[in-house]
Protein backbone atom coordinates (compact mmCIF):
# COMPACT_ATOMS: atom_id res chain seq x y z
CA UNK A 1 0.00 0.00 0.00
CA UNK A 2 2.89 2.26 0.80
CA UNK A 3 4.32 2.13 -2.65
CA UNK A 4 1.08 2.71 -4.55
CA UNK A 5 0.19 5.77 -2.52
CA UNK A 6 3.67 7.13 -3.04
CA UNK A 7 3.26 6.69 -6.75
CA UNK A 8 -0.06 8.46 -6.58
CA UNK A 9 1.50 11.40 -4.83
CA UNK A 10 4.31 11.57 -7.34
CA UNK A 11 1.74 11.49 -10.10
CA UNK A 12 -0.25 14.29 -8.50
CA UNK A 13 2.84 16.42 -8.01
CA UNK A 14 3.89 15.71 -11.57
CA UNK A 15 0.52 16.73 -12.93
CA UNK A 16 0.55 19.91 -10.87
CA UNK A 17 4.01 20.80 -12.09
CA UNK A 18 3.03 20.25 -15.71
CA UNK A 19 -0.10 22.31 -15.20
CA UNK A 20 1.99 25.15 -13.83
CA UNK A 21 4.31 24.97 -16.79
CA UNK A 22 1.42 24.96 -19.21
CA UNK A 23 -0.14 27.93 -17.44
CA UNK A 24 3.14 29.78 -17.56
CA UNK A 25 3.42 28.93 -21.24
CA UNK A 26 -0.08 30.21 -21.88
CA UNK A 27 0.78 33.40 -20.06
CA UNK A 28 3.80 34.20 -22.12
CA UNK A 29 2.34 33.13 -25.44
CA UNK A 30 -0.71 35.26 -24.71
CA UNK A 31 1.57 38.20 -24.26
CA UNK A 32 3.13 37.80 -27.64
CA UNK A 33 -0.15 37.16 -29.43
CA UNK A 34 -1.82 40.04 -27.62
CA UNK A 35 0.44 42.04 -29.95
CA UNK A 36 1.39 45.43 -28.59
CA UNK A 37 -0.05 46.59 -25.33
CA UNK A 38 -2.90 46.62 -22.82
CA UNK A 39 -2.44 50.37 -22.39
CA UNK A 40 -3.24 51.59 -25.90
CA UNK A 41 -5.84 54.33 -26.23
CA UNK A 42 -8.19 51.85 -27.87
CA UNK A 43 -7.82 49.34 -25.07
CA UNK A 44 -8.28 51.98 -22.36
CA UNK A 45 -11.48 53.15 -24.01
CA UNK A 46 -12.66 49.56 -24.23
CA UNK A 47 -11.94 49.00 -20.53
CA UNK A 48 -13.63 52.24 -19.60
CA UNK A 49 -10.91 53.12 -17.08
CA UNK A 50 -7.45 54.56 -17.24
CA UNK A 51 -5.00 53.63 -14.49
CA UNK A 52 -2.88 56.60 -13.50
CA UNK A 53 0.01 56.55 -11.06
CA UNK A 54 0.05 59.53 -8.69
CA UNK A 55 1.73 60.47 -5.45
CA UNK A 56 -0.30 60.26 -2.28
CA UNK A 57 2.03 62.16 0.01
CA UNK A 58 3.45 65.10 -1.90
CA UNK A 59 1.42 68.25 -1.37
CA UNK A 60 0.67 70.25 -3.40
CA UNK A 61 1.26 67.94 -6.39
CA UNK A 62 -0.44 64.72 -5.36
CA UNK A 63 -1.85 64.09 -1.91
CA UNK A 64 -5.00 63.15 -0.04
CA UNK A 65 -6.98 65.79 1.82
CA UNK A 66 -8.75 65.29 5.11
CA UNK A 67 -11.95 64.20 3.40
CA UNK A 68 -9.97 61.33 1.92
CA UNK A 69 -10.09 62.78 -1.59
CA UNK A 70 -7.07 62.76 -3.89
CA UNK A 71 -6.14 66.32 -4.82
CA UNK A 72 -3.22 68.32 -6.16
CA UNK A 73 -1.76 69.71 -9.36
CA UNK A 74 -0.98 66.29 -10.89
CA UNK A 75 -4.26 64.79 -9.73
CA UNK A 76 -6.30 67.59 -11.29
CA UNK A 77 -4.49 66.95 -14.56
CA UNK A 78 -5.13 63.22 -14.22
CA UNK A 79 -8.87 63.74 -13.80
CA UNK A 80 -8.92 66.06 -16.81
CA UNK A 81 -7.05 63.52 -18.94
CA UNK A 82 -9.54 60.80 -18.01
CA UNK A 83 -12.47 63.10 -18.71
CA UNK A 84 -11.13 64.00 -22.16
CA UNK A 85 -10.57 60.34 -22.94
CA UNK A 86 -14.15 59.69 -21.87
CA UNK A 87 -13.18 57.06 -19.29
CA UNK A 88 -13.13 56.70 -15.54
CA UNK A 89 -9.89 57.18 -13.66
CA UNK A 90 -8.35 54.68 -11.28
CA UNK A 91 -5.53 56.06 -9.16
CA UNK A 92 -2.59 53.89 -8.18
CA UNK A 93 -0.46 55.44 -5.48
CA UNK A 94 3.27 55.19 -6.12
CA UNK A 95 6.52 56.24 -4.47
CA UNK A 96 9.30 58.08 -6.24
CA UNK A 97 11.30 54.90 -6.77
CA UNK A 98 8.62 52.62 -8.20
CA UNK A 99 7.24 54.90 -10.89
CA UNK A 100 9.23 53.22 -13.65
CA UNK A 101 8.38 49.69 -12.49
CA UNK A 102 4.69 50.47 -12.24
CA UNK A 103 4.71 51.33 -15.95
CA UNK A 104 6.90 48.50 -17.11
CA UNK A 105 4.95 45.81 -15.30
CA UNK A 106 1.63 47.11 -16.66
CA UNK A 107 0.29 48.23 -13.31
CA UNK A 108 -0.60 51.64 -14.69
CA UNK A 109 -1.20 53.20 -18.10
CA UNK A 110 0.13 56.66 -17.36
CA UNK A 111 2.32 58.25 -14.70
CA UNK A 112 1.48 61.75 -13.49
CA UNK A 113 3.62 61.86 -10.39
CA UNK A 114 5.86 64.92 -10.63
CA UNK A 115 8.07 62.89 -12.92
CA UNK A 116 11.22 64.80 -13.94
CA UNK A 117 12.56 64.05 -17.40
CA UNK A 118 16.16 62.73 -17.28
CA UNK A 119 18.26 61.05 -19.99
CA UNK A 120 18.53 57.87 -17.87
CA UNK A 121 14.77 57.58 -17.48
CA UNK A 122 14.23 58.26 -21.18
CA UNK A 123 15.98 54.99 -21.94
CA UNK A 124 13.44 52.88 -20.08
CA UNK A 125 10.16 54.76 -20.50
CA UNK A 126 8.65 57.32 -22.87
CA UNK A 127 7.93 60.88 -21.76
CA UNK A 128 5.21 62.98 -23.33
CA UNK A 129 5.40 66.78 -23.67
CA UNK A 130 6.21 68.53 -20.38
CA UNK A 131 3.53 70.34 -18.40
CA UNK A 132 5.75 71.97 -15.77
CA UNK A 133 9.29 73.19 -15.25
CA UNK A 134 11.50 73.27 -12.19
CA UNK A 135 14.99 74.56 -11.63
CA UNK A 136 17.30 75.62 -8.86
CA UNK A 137 16.30 78.65 -6.81
CA UNK A 138 18.02 80.63 -4.07
CA UNK A 139 16.23 81.79 -0.94
CA UNK A 140 17.60 84.52 1.32
CA UNK A 141 16.43 86.81 4.16
CA UNK A 142 13.99 89.46 2.95
CA UNK A 143 16.05 92.28 4.49
CA UNK A 144 19.29 91.11 2.86
CA UNK A 145 18.07 89.55 -0.36
CA UNK A 146 20.35 87.81 -2.83
CA UNK A 147 19.11 88.43 -6.35
CA UNK A 148 22.20 87.72 -8.46
CA UNK A 149 24.75 84.91 -8.28
CA UNK A 150 27.54 87.51 -8.19
CA UNK A 151 26.38 88.47 -4.69
CA UNK A 152 27.28 84.97 -3.54
CA UNK A 153 31.01 85.13 -4.42
CA UNK A 154 33.14 84.16 -1.44
CA UNK A 155 30.08 83.75 0.82
CA UNK A 156 28.52 80.68 2.37
CA UNK A 157 25.66 79.10 0.47
CA UNK A 158 23.64 76.36 2.16
CA UNK A 159 22.67 73.24 0.17
CA UNK A 160 21.57 69.67 0.84
CA UNK A 161 23.83 66.86 -0.33
CA UNK A 162 22.66 65.01 -3.41
CA UNK A 163 20.37 67.71 -4.74
CA UNK A 164 20.51 69.28 -8.19
CA UNK A 165 21.38 72.54 -6.42
CA UNK A 166 24.55 71.01 -4.99
CA UNK A 167 25.60 69.61 -8.36
CA UNK A 168 24.97 72.88 -10.14
CA UNK A 169 26.91 75.07 -7.73
CA UNK A 170 29.80 72.63 -7.40
CA UNK A 171 30.27 72.39 -11.16
CA UNK A 172 29.23 75.78 -12.51
CA UNK A 173 29.68 78.36 -9.75
CA UNK A 174 33.11 77.65 -8.31
CA UNK A 175 33.48 80.98 -6.50
CA UNK A 176 30.70 80.17 -4.05
CA UNK A 177 31.52 78.45 -0.73
CA UNK A 178 29.10 75.62 -0.14
CA UNK A 179 27.91 74.58 3.29
CA UNK A 180 26.44 71.09 2.86
CA UNK A 181 23.83 69.39 5.01
CA UNK A 182 22.17 66.00 5.09
CA UNK A 183 18.51 66.88 5.39
CA UNK A 184 16.00 69.56 4.53
CA UNK A 185 15.34 70.28 8.20
CA UNK A 186 19.05 70.83 8.87
CA UNK A 187 19.53 73.14 5.92
CA UNK A 188 16.60 75.38 6.81
CA UNK A 189 17.72 75.57 10.43
CA UNK A 190 21.19 76.57 9.26
CA UNK A 191 19.69 79.39 7.20
CA UNK A 192 17.61 80.58 10.15
CA UNK A 193 20.71 80.57 12.36
CA UNK A 194 22.55 82.72 9.83
CA UNK A 195 25.24 80.17 8.97
CA UNK A 196 25.06 81.24 5.32
CA UNK A 197 23.80 84.22 3.37
CA UNK A 198 21.39 82.12 1.30
CA UNK A 199 20.16 78.61 0.56
CA UNK A 200 19.77 76.84 -2.79
CA UNK A 201 17.33 74.02 -3.58
CA UNK A 202 14.57 73.12 -6.07
CA UNK A 203 12.63 76.33 -6.60
CA UNK A 204 9.15 74.83 -6.25
CA UNK A 205 10.19 73.52 -2.85
CA UNK A 206 11.55 76.91 -1.79
CA UNK A 207 8.39 78.74 -2.85
CA UNK A 208 6.34 76.66 -0.47
CA UNK A 209 8.85 77.06 2.34
CA UNK A 210 9.19 80.82 2.02
CA UNK A 211 5.42 81.17 2.08
CA UNK A 212 5.46 79.66 5.59
CA UNK A 213 8.52 81.68 6.57
CA UNK A 214 7.65 85.19 5.43
CA UNK A 215 10.97 86.67 6.61
CA UNK A 216 12.62 84.97 3.66
CA UNK A 217 12.22 85.42 -0.07
CA UNK A 218 13.20 83.45 -3.16
CA UNK A 219 15.47 86.16 -4.58
CA UNK A 220 16.77 84.06 -7.47
CA UNK A 221 13.86 82.12 -8.86
CA UNK A 222 15.65 80.08 -11.44
CA UNK A 223 19.27 79.41 -12.31
CA UNK A 224 21.09 76.57 -13.96
CA UNK A 225 19.55 74.00 -16.25
CA UNK A 226 15.79 73.69 -16.27
CA UNK A 227 14.20 70.34 -15.65
CA UNK A 228 10.84 69.42 -17.05
CA UNK A 229 8.01 67.45 -15.53
CA UNK A 230 6.18 65.22 -18.00
CA UNK A 231 3.55 62.52 -18.17
CA UNK A 232 5.18 59.15 -18.81
CA UNK A 233 3.97 56.00 -20.60
CA UNK A 234 5.46 52.58 -21.04
CA UNK A 235 8.30 52.44 -23.56
CA UNK A 236 6.87 51.86 -27.03
CA UNK A 237 3.27 52.75 -26.16
CA UNK A 238 2.99 55.01 -29.21
CA UNK A 239 -0.76 55.29 -29.24
CA UNK A 240 -1.11 56.68 -25.72
CA UNK A 241 2.02 58.80 -26.11
CA UNK A 242 0.63 60.47 -29.20
CA UNK A 243 -2.72 61.08 -27.58
CA UNK A 244 -1.09 62.51 -24.43
CA UNK A 245 1.10 64.87 -26.45
CA UNK A 246 -1.96 66.22 -28.24
CA UNK A 247 -3.80 66.54 -24.95
CA UNK A 248 -0.98 68.48 -23.29
CA UNK A 249 -0.77 70.90 -26.25
CA UNK A 250 -4.52 71.37 -26.18
CA UNK A 251 -4.62 71.93 -22.41
CA UNK A 252 -1.73 74.40 -22.58
CA UNK A 253 -3.56 76.36 -25.27
CA UNK A 254 -6.81 76.34 -23.30
CA UNK A 255 -5.07 77.76 -20.24
CA UNK A 256 -5.92 74.67 -18.22
CA UNK A 257 -2.57 74.62 -16.42
CA UNK A 258 -2.94 78.21 -15.27
CA UNK A 259 -6.30 77.35 -13.74
CA UNK A 260 -4.80 74.25 -12.22
CA UNK A 261 -1.95 76.36 -10.84
CA UNK A 262 -4.30 78.87 -9.29
CA UNK A 263 -6.42 76.28 -7.57
CA UNK A 264 -3.77 73.82 -6.33
CA UNK A 265 -0.33 75.41 -6.22
CA UNK A 266 -1.00 79.10 -5.52
CA UNK A 267 -2.22 78.53 -1.94
CA UNK A 268 1.11 76.84 -1.24
CA UNK A 269 3.47 79.12 -3.10
CA UNK A 270 2.11 82.53 -2.16
CA UNK A 271 1.97 85.79 -4.07
CA UNK A 272 5.68 86.04 -4.90
CA UNK A 273 5.38 83.34 -7.50
CA UNK A 274 3.70 83.78 -10.85
CA UNK A 275 2.14 80.89 -12.78
CA UNK A 276 4.73 81.47 -15.51
CA UNK A 277 7.50 80.47 -13.04
CA UNK A 278 6.13 76.96 -13.03
CA UNK A 279 4.00 76.29 -16.07
CA UNK A 280 5.17 76.35 -19.65
CA UNK A 281 4.31 79.02 -22.19
CA UNK A 282 2.11 78.32 -25.21
CA UNK A 283 4.29 77.49 -28.15
Amino acid sequence: MNKTSLKKIIAVVGVLATLLLVLAGCGSSKKSSDSNNPSSVQQIKKNGTIRIAVFGDLPPYGWVNKEGKRVGYDVTLARKVAKDLGVKVKFVQVNANNRVDALNSNKVDLVLANFTVTPERKQVIDFAKPYMKVSVGVVSPRNKPITKTSQLKGKNLIVTKGTTAETYFTQKQKGVDLLKFDSKTQQFNALKNGRGVALADDNSYLYAWSKNNPKYTVGIKSIGPKSYISPAVKKGNKSLLKWTNKEISKLTKDGFFEKDYNSTLKPYFGKDVKPSDIILPIK
Partner: protein, 229 residues
Protein backbone atom coordinates in the same frame (compact mmCIF):
# COMPACT_ATOMS: atom_id res chain seq x y z
CA UNK B 1 0.17 74.59 18.69
CA UNK B 2 2.37 71.96 20.34
CA UNK B 3 -0.45 70.53 22.40
CA UNK B 4 -2.89 70.27 19.53
CA UNK B 5 -1.11 67.57 17.53
CA UNK B 6 -3.78 65.05 18.46
CA UNK B 7 -6.29 67.07 16.46
CA UNK B 8 -4.68 65.71 13.31
CA UNK B 9 -6.55 62.49 14.05
CA UNK B 10 -9.87 64.20 14.61
CA UNK B 11 -9.83 66.44 11.57
CA UNK B 12 -12.18 65.53 8.73
CA UNK B 13 -12.31 61.84 7.98
CA UNK B 14 -8.75 61.16 9.04
CA UNK B 15 -9.59 58.69 11.79
CA UNK B 16 -12.17 56.85 9.72
CA UNK B 17 -9.62 56.60 6.91
CA UNK B 18 -7.03 55.13 9.27
CA UNK B 19 -9.61 52.58 10.39
CA UNK B 20 -10.31 51.81 6.73
CA UNK B 21 -6.60 51.21 6.21
CA UNK B 22 -6.55 48.98 9.27
CA UNK B 23 -9.40 46.96 7.79
CA UNK B 24 -7.36 46.38 4.62
CA UNK B 25 -4.41 45.30 6.77
CA UNK B 26 -6.56 42.89 8.78
CA UNK B 27 -8.28 41.50 5.70
CA UNK B 28 -5.00 40.72 3.96
CA UNK B 29 -3.38 39.28 7.08
CA UNK B 30 -6.25 36.99 8.02
CA UNK B 31 -7.20 35.82 4.54
CA UNK B 32 -3.61 34.91 3.80
CA UNK B 33 -3.34 33.19 7.18
CA UNK B 34 -6.48 31.15 6.54
CA UNK B 35 -5.29 29.92 3.14
CA UNK B 36 -1.67 29.64 4.17
CA UNK B 37 -2.32 27.59 7.29
CA UNK B 38 -4.47 25.03 5.47
CA UNK B 39 -1.94 24.67 2.66
CA UNK B 40 0.88 24.61 5.21
CA UNK B 41 -0.65 21.70 7.13
CA UNK B 42 -1.00 19.73 3.88
CA UNK B 43 2.57 20.43 2.86
CA UNK B 44 3.80 19.68 6.39
CA UNK B 45 2.15 16.26 6.29
CA UNK B 46 3.64 15.60 2.85
CA UNK B 47 7.05 16.49 4.20
CA UNK B 48 6.93 13.63 6.72
CA UNK B 49 6.50 11.11 3.88
CA UNK B 50 9.47 9.07 2.81
CA UNK B 51 9.58 10.05 -0.87
CA UNK B 52 12.92 11.80 -1.37
CA UNK B 53 11.93 13.79 -4.45
CA UNK B 54 8.77 15.13 -2.82
CA UNK B 55 10.67 16.09 0.31
CA UNK B 56 13.37 17.75 -1.76
CA UNK B 57 10.90 19.84 -3.76
CA UNK B 58 9.02 20.95 -0.65
CA UNK B 59 12.28 21.70 1.10
CA UNK B 60 13.32 24.01 -1.74
CA UNK B 61 9.94 25.72 -1.57
CA UNK B 62 10.33 26.25 2.17
CA UNK B 63 13.87 27.54 1.95
CA UNK B 64 12.99 29.90 -0.89
CA UNK B 65 10.20 31.56 1.04
CA UNK B 66 12.12 31.55 4.30
CA UNK B 67 15.42 32.87 2.99
CA UNK B 68 14.18 35.53 0.56
CA UNK B 69 12.98 38.65 2.43
CA UNK B 70 9.28 39.32 2.14
CA UNK B 71 9.89 42.70 0.50
CA UNK B 72 11.83 41.01 -2.28
CA UNK B 73 9.09 38.41 -2.71
CA UNK B 74 6.48 41.14 -3.05
CA UNK B 75 8.55 43.02 -5.62
CA UNK B 76 9.21 39.82 -7.51
CA UNK B 77 5.52 38.95 -7.75
CA UNK B 78 4.26 42.49 -8.24
CA UNK B 79 6.77 44.00 -10.65
CA UNK B 80 9.00 41.34 -12.12
CA UNK B 81 6.81 38.32 -12.84
CA UNK B 82 4.06 40.32 -14.56
CA UNK B 83 6.60 41.52 -17.09
CA UNK B 84 7.60 37.99 -18.03
CA UNK B 85 4.36 36.08 -17.65
CA UNK B 86 1.56 38.57 -18.08
CA UNK B 87 0.41 37.46 -14.66
CA UNK B 88 -1.31 40.54 -13.35
CA UNK B 89 -3.24 40.66 -10.10
CA UNK B 90 -4.43 43.77 -8.26
CA UNK B 91 -2.12 44.72 -5.39
CA UNK B 92 -4.39 43.54 -2.55
CA UNK B 93 -5.01 40.10 -4.00
CA UNK B 94 -1.38 39.72 -4.94
CA UNK B 95 -0.30 40.62 -1.41
CA UNK B 96 -2.70 38.02 -0.01
CA UNK B 97 -1.37 35.44 -2.45
CA UNK B 98 2.30 36.06 -1.63
CA UNK B 99 1.64 36.11 2.09
CA UNK B 100 -0.36 32.88 1.84
CA UNK B 101 2.54 31.16 0.06
CA UNK B 102 4.94 32.48 2.68
CA UNK B 103 2.70 31.34 5.57
CA UNK B 104 2.32 27.93 3.93
CA UNK B 105 6.09 27.53 3.73
CA UNK B 106 6.69 28.47 7.35
CA UNK B 107 3.71 26.45 8.51
CA UNK B 108 4.86 23.34 6.69
CA UNK B 109 8.01 23.36 8.78
CA UNK B 110 6.12 23.88 12.03
CA UNK B 111 3.75 21.01 11.18
CA UNK B 112 6.56 18.72 10.12
CA UNK B 113 8.42 19.42 13.34
CA UNK B 114 5.34 18.78 15.42
CA UNK B 115 4.48 15.55 13.57
CA UNK B 116 7.90 14.00 14.02
CA UNK B 117 8.00 14.94 17.66
CA UNK B 118 4.87 12.95 18.44
CA UNK B 119 6.33 10.00 20.45
CA UNK B 120 7.27 7.13 18.19
CA UNK B 121 5.31 4.53 20.14
CA UNK B 122 2.10 6.35 19.29
CA UNK B 123 2.73 5.80 15.61
CA UNK B 124 3.74 2.19 16.14
CA UNK B 125 0.70 1.48 18.27
CA UNK B 126 -1.46 2.95 15.55
CA UNK B 127 0.11 0.74 12.95
CA UNK B 128 -0.21 -2.26 15.26
CA UNK B 129 -3.98 -1.94 15.40
CA UNK B 130 -4.07 -1.80 11.62
CA UNK B 131 -4.75 1.86 10.91
CA UNK B 132 -4.17 2.93 7.33
CA UNK B 133 -1.79 5.81 6.74
CA UNK B 134 -4.67 8.23 6.35
CA UNK B 135 -6.24 7.03 9.61
CA UNK B 136 -2.91 7.18 11.36
CA UNK B 137 -2.52 10.84 10.48
CA UNK B 138 -6.15 11.70 11.01
CA UNK B 139 -6.67 10.07 14.40
CA UNK B 140 -3.22 9.78 15.96
CA UNK B 141 -0.57 12.14 14.64
CA UNK B 142 -2.37 15.33 13.67
CA UNK B 143 -4.46 15.67 16.86
CA UNK B 144 -1.38 15.19 19.00
CA UNK B 145 0.77 17.46 16.87
CA UNK B 146 -1.89 20.16 17.05
CA UNK B 147 -1.15 21.26 20.60
CA UNK B 148 2.57 21.13 19.92
CA UNK B 149 2.36 23.45 16.94
CA UNK B 150 -0.19 25.91 18.28
CA UNK B 151 2.16 28.37 20.04
CA UNK B 152 4.48 28.52 17.03
CA UNK B 153 1.50 29.06 14.73
CA UNK B 154 0.24 31.98 16.75
CA UNK B 155 3.72 33.42 16.70
CA UNK B 156 3.68 33.13 12.93
CA UNK B 157 0.32 34.91 12.84
CA UNK B 158 1.67 37.88 14.81
CA UNK B 159 4.64 38.04 12.47
CA UNK B 160 2.38 38.08 9.43
CA UNK B 161 0.27 40.89 10.88
CA UNK B 162 3.38 42.95 11.61
CA UNK B 163 4.84 42.31 8.16
CA UNK B 164 1.77 43.80 6.44
CA UNK B 165 3.43 47.14 7.19
CA UNK B 166 5.69 46.70 4.15
CA UNK B 167 2.72 46.35 1.80
CA UNK B 168 2.77 50.09 1.11
CA UNK B 169 5.76 49.40 -1.13
CA UNK B 170 3.49 47.74 -3.67
CA UNK B 171 0.79 50.43 -3.49
CA UNK B 172 -1.55 48.63 -1.08
CA UNK B 173 -3.55 51.23 0.82
CA UNK B 174 -2.92 49.74 4.24
CA UNK B 175 -2.94 51.56 7.56
CA UNK B 176 0.71 52.67 7.25
CA UNK B 177 0.17 54.09 3.79
CA UNK B 178 -2.92 56.03 4.86
CA UNK B 179 -1.00 57.20 7.93
CA UNK B 180 1.67 58.65 5.69
CA UNK B 181 -0.92 60.41 3.55
CA UNK B 182 -2.37 61.98 6.66
CA UNK B 183 1.05 63.06 7.94
CA UNK B 184 2.12 64.66 4.68
CA UNK B 185 -1.22 66.36 4.08
CA UNK B 186 -1.07 67.97 7.53
CA UNK B 187 2.63 68.67 7.74
CA UNK B 188 2.17 72.42 7.66
CA UNK B 189 -0.69 72.71 10.11
CA UNK B 190 0.41 69.95 12.52
CA UNK B 191 4.21 69.68 12.51
CA UNK B 192 4.11 67.06 15.26
CA UNK B 193 1.24 65.10 13.77
CA UNK B 194 3.77 62.37 12.92
CA UNK B 195 3.95 61.42 16.56
CA UNK B 196 0.19 61.05 16.89
CA UNK B 197 -0.39 59.21 13.64
CA UNK B 198 2.34 56.66 14.27
CA UNK B 199 1.21 56.53 17.89
CA UNK B 200 -2.27 55.46 16.88
CA UNK B 201 -0.88 52.96 14.37
CA UNK B 202 1.28 51.51 17.13
CA UNK B 203 -1.83 51.18 19.27
CA UNK B 204 -3.73 49.45 16.45
CA UNK B 205 -1.02 46.87 15.88
CA UNK B 206 -0.61 46.38 19.61
CA UNK B 207 -4.33 45.75 20.08
CA UNK B 208 -4.31 43.05 17.42
CA UNK B 209 -0.99 41.43 18.20
CA UNK B 210 -0.87 41.52 21.97
CA UNK B 211 -3.92 39.26 22.61
CA UNK B 212 -2.42 36.76 20.16
CA UNK B 213 0.96 36.63 21.84
CA UNK B 214 -0.71 36.50 25.25
CA UNK B 215 -2.73 33.52 24.07
CA UNK B 216 0.41 31.83 22.74
CA UNK B 217 2.17 32.25 26.06
CA UNK B 218 -0.79 30.89 27.95
CA UNK B 219 -1.01 27.84 25.72
CA UNK B 220 2.66 27.19 26.14
CA UNK B 221 2.35 27.33 29.91
CA UNK B 222 -0.67 25.03 29.83
CA UNK B 223 1.20 22.60 27.62
CA UNK B 224 4.08 22.48 30.08
CA UNK B 225 1.70 21.94 32.98
CA UNK B 226 0.01 19.10 31.15
CA UNK B 227 3.28 17.39 30.30
CA UNK B 228 4.88 17.72 33.67
CA UNK B 229 1.74 17.05 35.67
Amino acid sequence: MAHSGINVLLEGDNFIRLLGGLWVTIKIAFTSLAFGLVLGVLLGVLRTFKNRLLRFVLRIYLEFFRVVPTVVLLFLFYYILPRQLNFNLPANELATFVFALWVAAEMSDIVRGALISVPKHQQESGKAIGLSRWQLYRYVLIPQAFSLELPATINLATRVIKTTSILMLISVMDVINIGQQVIEANNHTYPNGVFWVYGIIFLFYFLIDYPLSWWARRLEKKGLERENG
